[in-house]
């Protein structure tokens, strides 16, 4: 069921940090296609280039060379603000460290992306509560991160990521700070979002148990894609 044009397409992506004799080549030519609606896990030892690739995929960073098409758009040619607008429109982020705003209620955290989109108060409230409902934290809307457990914080972060109904959800070790029971809950939530809301999920992880939830596993090694493992799709 491969769709004609992949949502993400990378061709010959390289990334060099620094210059001169201290320059370090993190990516040595990545070719990668991701279909819309896929659930991709990115695996690899540290230093293999998976985080750098995720940063480029998340439009947070630009490649040194190569082509990166997102929905047919050449991201490598966009400037800082254009990439910010692309993130605002299409992407949702979930981080290992949750990265919620401190002293701010769950609802205000979830509403934040909508605020930048210029949505009005009612729309923000309705969409924010719906997103919290989806992650099962509707009752906790007025709690600050300090009043929530790690698993709950990560679910608020996921609510924040999906409140804009993004095309792609990027998760950077979303279960890295959680015990295995909470981790499985988070993975089930991501699987549900992928299956029932049609969100393309890209996840970095180093735990094979978590990667097992994905349909496609991309293995990185030494700045290159070592192999792409297609799994049985549900």
């Amino acid at each position: 069921m491969a769709s004609p044009a992949p949502i993400i397409s990378m061709r010959g992506i390289t990334k060099v940090f620094g210059s001169g004799p201290t320059a370090f080549q993190a990516l040595k030519g990545i070719d990668l296609d991701i279909e819309e609606g896929d659930f991709v896990a990115v695996m690899g030892p540290s230093g293999s280039g998976k985080s750098t690739t995720m940063n480029i995929l998340g439009c947070l960073d630009v490649p040194t060379a190569g082509e990166f098409l997102f929905k047919g758009r050449h991201v490598e040619q966009l400037d800082r603000d254009q990439r910010a607008l692309l993130r605002r429109r299409y992407l949702g982020f979930v981080f290992q460290g949750f990265n919620l705003l401190a002293r701010t209620s769950a609802l205000e955290n979830v509403e934040l992306p909508l605020l930048y989109r210029g949505e009005d108060k009612k729309t923000r409230y309705d969409a924010g509560m719906a997103a919290l409902d989806k992650v099962g934290l509707k009752e906790w809307w007025d709690h600050t991160p300090a009043e929530l457990s790690g698993g709950q914080q990560q679910r608020v972060a996921i609510a924040r990521a999906i409140v804009t109904q993004p095309a792609v959800l990027l998760a950077d070790e979303p279960t890295g700070n959680l015990d295995s029971e909470r981790s499985i809950e988070i993975m089930e939530l991501l699987t549900d979002l992928n299956r029932n809301s049609g969100i393309t999920v890209l996840m970095v992880t180093h735990e094979p148990d978590m990667a097992a939830f994905a349909h496609t596993i991309v293995h990185f090694k030494d700045g290159l894609v070592e192999r792409v493992e297609e799994r049985v799709k549900a």
Partner: protein, 401 residues
């Protein structure tokens, strides 16, 4: 976009109430200090002007000697003669009214009350020079002046203390042991720069000379200058005339002096104005320090909130929005500080003005300028930290611990 950033700025300020308050404290104190100082200074200037103007506008005071506190040694310069008065009246142009003055102090008695006061011997012209009107009764008649009749016009303080505020016109009282009839009472003038101006008994000069001073000398001459003439030109002619009449040799110093009340007024108000400006300048420095305080806290805040900025950028905030948020935060803080400062200044000025015996004058311009200045401080000192925040790389910012 501005609406969004204003919401975000208020949320950020609200999340850190204590820090926000401490940040604004410098501005609060600065604005309060500047506005209080200027308000009180303006009040003091107004008070000085008020006191001086009570001496009469455009009035020249001619006295023997070389001015206040000078010419200590040597023989006392002679007083003025009636002929001097006539000469000024006839030879000087640009004069509206001329009044001679002799002073004596003594006790006034009416029935059981007595009151120690000052007796002024003068003519009806005195009231014209001073722009002073009778409250009840009348001023001197020409024949009363000419004959030096025992009549008197009393100030309000004398009336209060001697007649308990009752009608005094027509009553006979005793002054320095001499009986005299009250023909009028004077309108209240209040506290002047030289004591209670209402504590006075005014009598015809000839009576005072005959019964109290014992000679025909005049200790002071007051000259009201016609509005159409230049006071300093008239003063020049007056000095020339007196040098001639008092036979002051060319090159030697005058044995008399002329005070221009307007000049005194200008000098004194000028002094208070300069003092106000100096104090306000010192206070303005504290305002500047307050601004630097805001910049300091905002810079710390940018570092402390690096991760937050990273989150905002990752979520899709453009650099401009982050810059605006921090700038708006700084402006809101400094404006809030400005408003609180103005409010404190209002309270302080109203409380302190009576203690300093100066009027409280609310100056819209000073308040407005101080507020706009505090807002400008927010912009100027908020811009640098805001730009630093906006320039952060989202990846580095997210990794920041």
């Amino acid at each position: 976009m501005l609406g969004t950033t204003v919401i975000l700025a208020f949320r950020a300020i609200n999340r850190h109430k204590l820090r926000s308050f401490l940040t604004t404290l410098g501005i609060i104190i600065g604005v309060a200090a500047v506005v209080t100082m200027v308000t009180l200074g303006n009040g003091a200037t107004a008070a000085v002007r008020e006191q001086i103007s009570s001496l009469g506008a455009n009035v020249l005071q001619l006295r023997p000697g070389q001015g206040f506190g000078r010419g200590g040694g040597g023989p006392r310069p002679p007083d003025f003669k009636p002929q001097d008065l006539t000469a000024i009246e006839n030879q000087l142009t640009g004069v509206r009214a001329v009044a001679p003055l002799v002073q004596s102090s003594g006790t006034a008695i009416y029935e059981g009350s007595n009151w120690s006061t000052t007796v002024y011997g003068t003519t009806a012209a005195y009231f014209e020079v001073q722009s002073w009107k009778a409250d009840t009764g009348r001023l001197f008649l020409p024949d009363e002046e000419e004959a030096g009749k025992p009549v008197c016009i009393i100030g309000n303080t004398v009336r209060t203390n001697l007649f308990q505020g009752n009608d005094a016109v027509g009553k006979r009282m005793r002054i320095k042991g001499v009986s005299c009839q009250v023909i009028g009472t004077l309108a209240t003038r209040g506290q002047g720069g030289f004591g209670d101006q209402d504590d006075v008994v005014v009598m015809p000069i000839k009576f005072v000379q005959r019964r109290f001073t014992g000679d025909r000398d005049i200790s002071q001459i007051l000259i009201a200058v016609d509005d159409a003439y230049d006071t300093s030109a008239v003063q020049g002619s007056l000095e020339e005339l007196m040098r001639e009449r008092r036979k002051v040799k060319t090159g030697s110093e005058d044995n008399f002096n002329v005070f221009d009340t307007k000049q005194i007024s200008d000098t004194l108000t000028g002094t208070t104005t300069i003092l106000t400006q100096i104090v306000a300048a010192v206070a303005a420095i504290s305002l500047l320090v307050g601004g630097i305080g805001i910049m300091n806290i905002m810079l710390v805040s940018v570092t402390e909130r690096t991760r937050e900025i990273g989150i905002r950028l990752a979520i899709g905030a453009v650099a401009r929005e982050v810059l605006l948020q921090f700038l708006v935060e700084a402006i809101v803080l400094s404006c809030l500080g400005g408003l609180i400062g103005l409010f404190l200044a209002l309270i302080a000025s109203v409380a302190i003005a009576p203690l300093m015996q100066v009027p409280f004058i609310f100056n819209v311009k000073v308040n407005l300028i101080a507020f706009l200045f505090s807002a400008a401080i927010g912009v100027v000192f908020g811009y640098f930290p805001a730009r630093r925040a906006a320039a952060l790389n989202p990846i580095d910012a997210l990794r920041h611990e």
